[in-house]
């Protein structure tokens, strides 16, 4: 279990324990965090799991693959340098305490 904090669009922070090997998307939807839809179930097909990873730590994550980058281009909320698709980021212990900000819309 690794502790992740999701900050919902209106500022509410939700801290949950996510099992290792789960994605940031799975950790959020299972816990009912507002602002991540994850409609495709993690197939990198819907872009409804867009999130902004803590800028200071974005470099610690494995970089996005091309299809993730392509999907991010047209996500509903603006893309930033720290944008990721939450379903493509697998949680592991080195990510403890990571803060993930959610956009105000996913569609």
């Amino acid at each position: 279990m690794t502790t992740i904090t999701y900050v919902e669009a209106h500022g509410q922070a939700v801290t949950v324990d996510v099992a290792d090997g789960w994605s940031l998307m799975q950790g959020a939807v299972a816990n009912g965090v507002e602002g991540i839809l994850g409609e495709c179930g993690g197939s990198c097909a819907c872009a409804t799991c867009h999130c902004y990873v803590d800028e200071a730590r974005i470099g610690e994550l494995p970089p996005p693959a091309n299809n993730e980058l392509d999907m991010l281009e047209d996500a509903a909320a603006p893309r930033r340098s720290n944008s990721r698709l939450a379903c493509q980021v697998k949680v592991h212990s080195a990510m403890a305490g990571l803060i993930v900000h959610l956009p105000d819309r996913q569609q």
């Binding site: 994605s23 495709c40 993690g42 197939s43 999907m71 281009e73």
Partner: protein, 394 residues
């Protein structure tokens, strides 16, 4: 009816959960009961034929919400609770366990069931279809046996689910034959060039693909286990597992028995309203009447989500038509197909990008009108096509 006190939703799948959460999102404060016939709560089905079957993720990772998360939203989930009848007059839903629930508004989100083939041997052990987690677990188990004992499997039906399962089986090095009755794969949805492209893809990965296939029977051993597929031309294909992926039927039995209008699904309007003012329906169980007067049957996550939102709005007495362009995806090997729009009626196709590069899109037109775009590993084209089709549709 602006504020019902009690909403009952039958079917705890993608559409049912969406309806429940959309109701809360709209400020509905009454009771919501979500009835599910399965033992577990709502989960994502698409990975069942993809990453889950490939062993890349665990079953728990498919869950859409934890029980806690549902409770916090005041959604009462009842699993293992099958609805068996609706009393329209008394506004009651009867349950298999003998109980009954009264409703002010009822939402049917009962999904669909795999169609089976009516041929000898259809009940043999090891002839399986894929819809639920339980189905997927049975298939995974038998696939493991096939891999261990070096036995081949046969997939009947070259549609999305069949082809995804075939691709996953090839990852496990199981010998796979895909039998497709039509002259091309995914004939109803893909442009002809793409059917051919997919046929080559599967053959390249070692799938024995038979088009125009005619099946006579499933051969059954003395132990009741399937052991092969008998073709009309006399060929016998040995098989330790047969997957039947020949489409689904809407689960509209409850609605039919209650006298609601049904036609290959529960007939709804663009706002998810049925022919009864207190009953709404969403997802795979529906057939939506379009402005052109035809019935549209969609089986996709997007359709379940959008109709779920429409149903919630309709329960609250508001109109929220489902008007967005349909979209769908499929993962096979390392190829992602994304479809935007509906290609029915296309008479002209245009390819953008290089098929040989493995990233390209096929545009379907009827005359000058863009109907749909199929994108292969080409997410940007897909998302732009969706925007374009949404824009043209409104």
């Amino acid at each position: 009816m602006t504020s019902p006190d009690k909403v009952v939703i039958v079917g705890a799948g993608q559409a049912g959960l969406q309806t429940a959460e959309a109701l809360r999102g709209m400020g509905y404060a009454g009771a919501i009961t979500l009835l599910g016939a399965e033992r577990c709560g709502p989960y994502h089905r698409p990975p069942l034929s993809k990453s889950w079957l490939a062993g890349e993720i665990a079953a728990e990772q498919l869950a859409m919400r934890s029980p806690d998360a549902l409770e916090r939203k005041g959604i009462a989930l009842r699993t293992d609770a099958q609805a068996i009848g609706i009393d329209i007059g008394k506004r009651l839903v009867r349950l298999a366990d003998g109980g009954a629930l009264s409703y002010d508004a009822l939402v049917l989100a009962t999904g669909a069931s795999p169609r089976m083939l009516d041929i000898p041997g259809r009940d043999a052990t090891g002839v399986l279809a894929l819809r639920s987690m339980e189905d997927a677990q049975a298939i995974a188990q038998r696939m493991a046996l096939c891999a261990e004992s070096n036995r081949p499997m046969v997939v009947v039906g070259g549609g999305f689910i069949g082809l995804e399962v075939a691709a996953t089986a090839r990852k496990k090095r199981i010998a796979v034959t895909v039998l497709e009755a039509a002259p091309r794969l995914l004939g109803r949805v893909l442009a002809p060039t793409l059917s051919e492209w997919y046929a080559q893809l599967h053959r390249w990965h070692g799938v024995n693909l038979v088009l125009n296939a005619r099946i006579a029977a499933f051969e059954t051993g003395a132990d009741g286990q399937v052991c092969g597929v008998q073709m009309n031309d006399g060929t016998l294909l040995p098989a330790g597992l047969v997957i039947v992926g020949v489409g689904v039927q809407a689960n509209d039995g409850l609605a039919r028995a209650a006298g609601l209008a049904c036609d290959r699904g529960i007939v709804v309007d663009a706002c998810a309203r049925t022919s009864n003012p207190y009953i709404f329906a969403a997802g795979d169980c529906t057939a939506r009447s379009t402005s052109e007067g035809t019935l549209l049957r969609l089986e996709s996550v997007q359709n379940a989500v959008e109709q779920g939102k429409s149903a919630a709005a309709a329960v609250m007495g508001q109109e929220r038509p489902f008007a967005a362009a349909p979209w769908f995806w499929s993962d096979q090997y390392d190829i992602k197909l994304q479809i935007a729009g509906l290609s029915t009626g296309a008479d002209r196709w245009e390819t953008r990008g290089e098929p040989d590069s493995g990233s390209f899109s096929v545009y379907h037109y009827c005359g000058d009108r863009l109907l749909a775009v199929d994108s292969i590993n080409d997410a940007r084209e897909h998302l732009q096509a969706r925007k374009r089709l949404d824009g043209e549709g409104t």
